[in-house]
Amino acid sequence: MTRTSSGISFILFAMLSVALMIVDARSPFLQPVRDSLHFVNRTVESIVALPAAMVDVFERFYPNAQLYDNYQLLRQTYAKQQLQLQRLQALQNENVRLKELLKVSENIREEVFLSQIKNFDLESFSRRIVLDDGRNRGIHLGQVVFEPNGILGQVSYLGDETAVVTLITDSGHTLPVEVERTGQRTLARGSGRPNLLNLPFIERSADIRKDDVLVTSGVGGRFPAGYKVAQVEEVIMDSNRAFLDVSATTFFNIDKVREVLLIKAKQAMPPLLEARGGEPAVSPLPDALQEYFDD
């Protein structure tokens, strides 16, 4: 291939690429293309997951395979319960601040289910993760995805058996949050860097300091309120600017996330605390694990 002919090809294909990018960015026109080619994704993901799957199979042949199963079950139960406990904590805090109790629409009993992250790594720009469940589990586009330590992100692409999650730390993602200590409501924006959020709208006179905990405020209705998001890392005051430069570290560590949880909202139920007389509404242990806790 001579230099000039490759030059012409390059210009042609470059223009074509730019056209494609504009179309993909501005319209859902190319979505059906992605959907119809999804089988390619699945095949490649299965191939790429093979080494890890082989290691898993190998591990199961240890003499204490039973222990491994129970450990997995314990992990999952623990993860679900951690999430439920967080909601309880947030409700207790609201009481302490003498706020009016939330209306019925907020007291929705939620059913939590776990999803495995497929062994799949995406490029470094977008910290997206791919889940092993899609429409078949009733997941919908935009659904909020949680991690035992708090909110992880939203489903941004949905397939029949796959979902791609965009994280709250992705640049361009905005999350309505509230400072737990003061009740101040603001927006947390993804920084593009792992585990780091920015709060770009804190004015200089605001009361915020390091180690303040941020929780979701529920403003806008997209994300449920009361879930932990991040902890303030740095508050920098620059005398030239009107806003403080506040950064916060998420409670989850993206490199360590193993399973995620999704919530299906069911019908409304009475507030957790009142109905149970102060006892936390935590689901009972599965029978298989009961033996570990009987003494």
Binding site: S9, F13, S17, L37, P51, D121, F125, V164
Partner: protein
């Protein structure tokens, strides 16, 4: 050895090497290594572009990039653009790449991979409004470090190199 004809590496081998590089790109890496992932596809494309008769052309690179876009769930056309850029540079610079020692080649590879990351970051910034971060460029360094590996491994299968050493 009487006849001195130049045998071409089979087209299927070229394709297989590119597909294998694609799998390597998508493979999981340990947590601490995540931002330094080398771009195997770029390295393999550079190798096949630097042949005196390049074994990949712009069109092929475009399709490879598009496939990568599909598999990474990224903006359609983003990696297609970056890969055609890589091949365009590599084909244009192939006279130098062929003459230079492995160290000098590495410098050119570093420039090409860094330029690719720069372009990808630009596109990402336009698309998502993200702020570019310098640690994305670790990947360029890692790719450059692995260039000798790709070069020597692929060369083993290249009948021309056996003749000329």
């Amino acid at each position: 050895m009487t006849s001195f004809s130049l045998r071409k590496v089979s087209g299927r081998f070229v394709l297989a090497s590119i597909l294998f590089a694609l799998l390597l790109n998508l493979m999981n890496y340990p947590d601490w290594f995540r931002y330094a992932k080398p771009d195997w596809v770029t390295l393999v494309l550079i190798y096949w572009s630097m042949q005196s008769q390049p074994r990949v052309n712009i069109a092929a690179a475009w399709f490879v990039g598009l496939l990568l876009d599909l598999l990474l769930y990224s903006l359609f056309g983003m990696h297609a653009f970056s890969k055609i850029m890589v091949v365009f540079f590599a084909i244009g610079l192939r006279r130098y790449l062929r003459l230079y020692s492995i160290w000098q080649q590495s410098v050119i590879v570093l420039i090409i991979t860094s330029a690719e990351i720069l372009v990808l970051t630009w596109i990402n910034t336009i698309y998502t409004g993200s702020v570019a971060d310098w640690y994305y460029f670790q990947s360029a360094f890692m790719s450059t470090l692995l260039w000798p590996v790709v070069y020597f491994v692929l060369r083993k299968f290249d009948p021309n190199s056996q003749i000329f050493g």
